[in-house]
């Protein structure tokens, strides 16, 4: 079997994996709120700092 078939199927497979990941994330509601997570991810750092101070 020619290597190009292998390459094609691998590349499509990888693409489909990412596609499924996208569909899954939409379904889980990750795109419903595109603002709060961007703020939330900054909090944890400050919390840790707070604790180490003590």
């Amino acid at each position: 079997m020619s290597v190009i078939y292998l390459l094609l199927s691998v590349s499509v497979l990888v693409a489909i994996v990412f596609f499924i990941a996208f569909i899954y994330s939409v379904k889980k509601g990750q795109y419903d709120d595109s603002y709060t997570p961007s703020v939330r991810m900054l909090f944890d750092d400050e919390l840790v700092k707070e604790k180490t101070n003590k």
């Binding site: 709060t36 703020v39 909090f43 707070e50």
Partner: protein
């Protein structure tokens, strides 16, 4: 004046400053919140943002209805007996500190498992265990830290909402296929008859076919459905040439690869659908946290306190309130039904209904109307009508509220697509007929090529991108529209109807006039000093009126809630308050809000409060001179002379208008073939707002209630109305230029198509090129227009 800012809420601490933990607070409420936070190691709240808090309000008894199991059941999003999830709307959410503290609720109470904030929607989703903490306790807990949730009758009915994410799926699929098809079709663009390419092109082509299947069948399905609907109602809408284009592209490409005639147009096909969906997505994004569909339900509470025949208090659902029931209305609670005041001191704030901010005093036996808010103490009332039959709520049974405005509006794209479709079809047939005579082998090729190249991708994109971008620009200038179509509707209007109270006037500022015998300096100082200790809104206003006076010491200060206050300065006794309090007599027939004063029981005079007109009212009216202008008001004719002087001559002034009259007036204008903008603010304008072509609600605070409308305008932008209308006219102009531009592309494409030399690569270049250049053009043009807005 003392200008220390409260560490918690940022208000000026002008009367009392409480110092705690080296920080100053304006009131005990704010201090308590700080104490709660510092005990639970949540002071990080103040590091993220300065003065982020809100003053916690007195809410004793307000949430008693949350003891009622059936009401809780309706509000919960999820309930499996042990774990419960509730989604609460909290208007105060406004900064990162809010997110942080609300997501750390589990530190305040260990039975709260998780809490998650949705910032754009201003909601918090709390998971908790009802065996250890009740919903009421949670609500009281978050209220005590200044985040009082807003629970209304609307939440009771809606139940669980389903989110529609289909457009996102479709966009994902189209994008995924588009990318893959581009890769697969790329080798054949250069048409080199090379050995390897010849060998493998069939597998490449069939893979492209496979990728475009979900695009045609799923992602593009909306266009087929819409085209079918259009045909059935005999309207040639823009989706017909699009659906035609998609199907011709797909069928021709499939035939080409089956008979090995060429590569097909799968790249253009998937690209086309992807761009179209992108346009749709761009237009669909609106303001999540604003609701444009609200009626009285989102304003009314879920439950009220009923007094049973045995004299017991019980919390009851509002729809169960019947005629003859006795209700208990507490301070800051809303009167849900029409009724008669039995006892208690009623100060009713009808600002949501009429826009009039000053409370109206009522005495037992007076009629109370639904929609008013009680401001002082507890009152008892007897119900005259059920919720749906009350004076105010009846307005919603009018047919206007059942009509969908946008469905009857013909957009500019609809108008042009009719001519466009006819033109494309006739060119296709003429060209085919021509080729049938010359070279009939090419006839079918030309026919399909015309339909492919004329597929109005650019035209379909022009309006969504222009209006979508304009919508965003308006939003930045604090003018929030329901959807993009409103801009087109705004551009077409030729008449404007203004409400007076709350719209032309503002209740943030008052003009205060004094009537009575003249006051000397000492008397003014005494007044100022006594007012200083009172927190009544009228006292605060009057206090600032005497700003230049000195303060002196007063003794024996006493405040009688709902009546007034008295105080001593040396031998002088001063009384400030309602006329019945100050001189033991009511002034009949006087509707003005006034504060009376007396010294040593000798009547001096009264201060009359009037709402001030917004700045720039006269300028706005002058700017809009070419429009048919009118002012409708629910008030009496008291201000007629003043308005006539202030506003342009031809402005029609109507007074004593009931809510239904306002609606009818708008309908009357529409019968005279006017397209009407209604600008109002209160619930009493709701009918007129719904009837008008474009209803704009003016709001001092956009997060607080505003009636159903097409757009919400922040009150600070009132004098920009003229510019907004002008900008929307320009937006429509931009769309027209886009149509011209895309027609140019079509003519170039049609040349290739008609002459029978359309190669897939030309289509693949022309289609994205036209779409992208249109998008760039509209973005630049709308931003230029937006820059002119203040």
């Amino acid at each position: 004046m003392n200008t220390t800012q409260c560490y918690h809420c940022g208000n000026d601490c002008d009367t009392t400053t409480i110092v705690f933990d080296k920080k100053s607070f304006c009131c005990n409420g704010c201090k308590t919140v700080y104490e709660i936070f510092s005990e639970n190691e949540l002071t990080c709240y103040y590091d993220l943002q300065q003065n982020p808090g809100a003053v916690p309000k007195e809410i004793k008894g307000k949430y008693d209805f949350l003891d009622n199991e059936t009401i809780i059941e309706k509000l919960l999003e999820f309930n499996d007996g042990d774990t419960q999830i509730i989604n609460l709307y909290i208007p105060h959410i406004h900064c990162s500190s809010c997110i942080w503290v609300l997501e750390n609720l589990h530190k305040l109470h260990k039975s709260i498992t998780t809490s998650q904030v949705n910032f754009p929607k201003k909601t918090v989703r709390i998971t908790y265990k009802s065996s250890q903490i009740s919903l009421k306790e949670i609500v009281l807990l978050i209220s005590s830290i200044g985040y009082e949730p807003y629970i209304s009758l609307e939440d009771y009915e809606v139940g669980k909402k389903q989110v529609d994410r289909s457009l996102l799926y479709k966009l994902g699929i189209a994008g995924f296929s588009f990318g893959n098809v581009m890769f697969l079709s790329f080798p054949e663009y250069f048409e080199v008859s090379e050995f390897w390419l010849e060998q493998y092109k069939h597998i490449f082509r069939w893979m492209m076919f496979a990728f475009s299947l979900p695009v045609v069948l799923y992602a593009g399905s909306d266009y087929f459905i819409s085209a079918y609907k259009g045909l059935r109602s005999k309207i040639l809408n823009i989706d017909i040439p699009i659906a035609l284009g998609i199907s011709v592209l797909f069928i021709r490409s499939t035939i080409e690869i089956i008979f090995d005639l060429g590569t097909g147009f799968f790249d253009s096909l998937t690209g086309l659908v992807f761009f179209l969906l992108l346009g749709k997505f761009f237009q669909q994004r609106t303001y999540n946290y604003l609701s444009f569909e609200r009626d009285y339900k989102s304003y009314f509470p879920i439950a009220v306190t009923r007094i049973t025949s045995k004299g017991k208090e019980e919390s009851t659902q509002i729809y169960n309130v019947e005629k003859g029931d006795r209700l208990l209305i507490r301070n800051q609670e809303l009167i849900p039904v029409d009724g008669i005041l039995i006892n208690g001191d009623a100060q009713i704030d009808y600002s949501f209904v009429t826009g009039e901010a000053e409370p109206v005093a009522k005495k037992s036996g007076d009629k109370l109307f639904a929609g008013g808010k009680q401001l002082s103490g507890i009152i008892e009332m007897e119900v005259l009508k059920s919720v749906e039959q009350s004076y105010l709520t009846q307005l919603w049974s009018n047919d206007v509220f059942k009509k969908d405005k946008s469905s009857s509006f013909k957009t500019i794209t609809d108008t042009i697509s009719k001519n466009f479709t006819i033109a494309v079809l006739s060119i296709a047939f003429i060209a085919t007929a021509f080729w049938l005579f010359i070279d009939n082998s090419k006839a079918l090729n030309v026919f399909t090529a015309v339909l492919i190249i004329a597929c109005p991708c650019a035209i379909a994109l022009a309006a969504p991108f222009t209006l979508g971008n304009m919508l965003r620009i308006f939003g930045k200038k604090k003018f929030y529209l329901k959807n993009a179509t409103v801009i087109e509707q705004l551009a077409e209007t030729d008449a404007i109807v203004f409400d007076k109270t709350g719209t032309l006037t503002t209740h943030k500022e008052n003009t205060i006039n004094y009537f009575g015998s003249k006051l000397n300096h000492i008397e003014k100082s005494i007044l100022k000093s006594s007012l200083r200790s009172s927190n009544h809104p009228l006292s605060r206003n009057l206090y600032h009126f005497f700003e230049s006076e000195e303060t002196i010491t007063i003794t024996n200060f006493q405040e009688h809630i709902g009546k007034g206050l008295e105080a001593n300065h040396q031998e002088t006794l001063v009384k400030i308050g309602s006329s019945s309090f100050v001189k033991n007599a009511c002034e009949p027939g006087n509707l003005d809000t006034s504060v009376h004063i007396s010294f040593n029981n000798q009547y001096k005079g009264k201060f009359v409060f009037k709402n001030a007109y917004r700045q720039g009212v006269s300028k706005v009216f002058k700017e809009l001179n070419e429009y048919n202008l009118s002012v409708v008001s629910g008030d009496n004719e008291g201000e007629k002379v003043y308005l006539e002087k202030y506003l342009p001559q031809k402005t029609k002034l109507l007074f004593n208008q009931k809510p239904a009259d306002k609606l009818n007036y708008v309908a009357q204008l529409q019968k005279e073939n006017h397209k009407v903008i209604m600008i109002g603010d209160g619930l009493n304008d709701a009918g007129a707002l719904a009837q008008s072509n474009v209803g704009i609600a003016l709001s001092e605070n956009i997060n607080v209630f505003s009636p159903a409308c097409d757009g919400i305008l922040d009150a600070s932008q009132f004098n920009q109305i003229g510019s907004f209308i002008k900008a929307s006219k320009k937006a429509v102009q931009i769309i027209k230029y886009c149509f011209l531009l895309s027609l140019l592309y079509n003519i170039v494409g049609l040349y290739f198509a008609v002459t029978g030399q359309l190669q897939p690569v030309i289509a693949a270049i022309l289609m994205p090129l036209s779409s992208i250049s249109i998008v760039i053009f509209t973005t630049i043009a709308t931003n230029l227009v937006g820059k002119k807005l203040k």
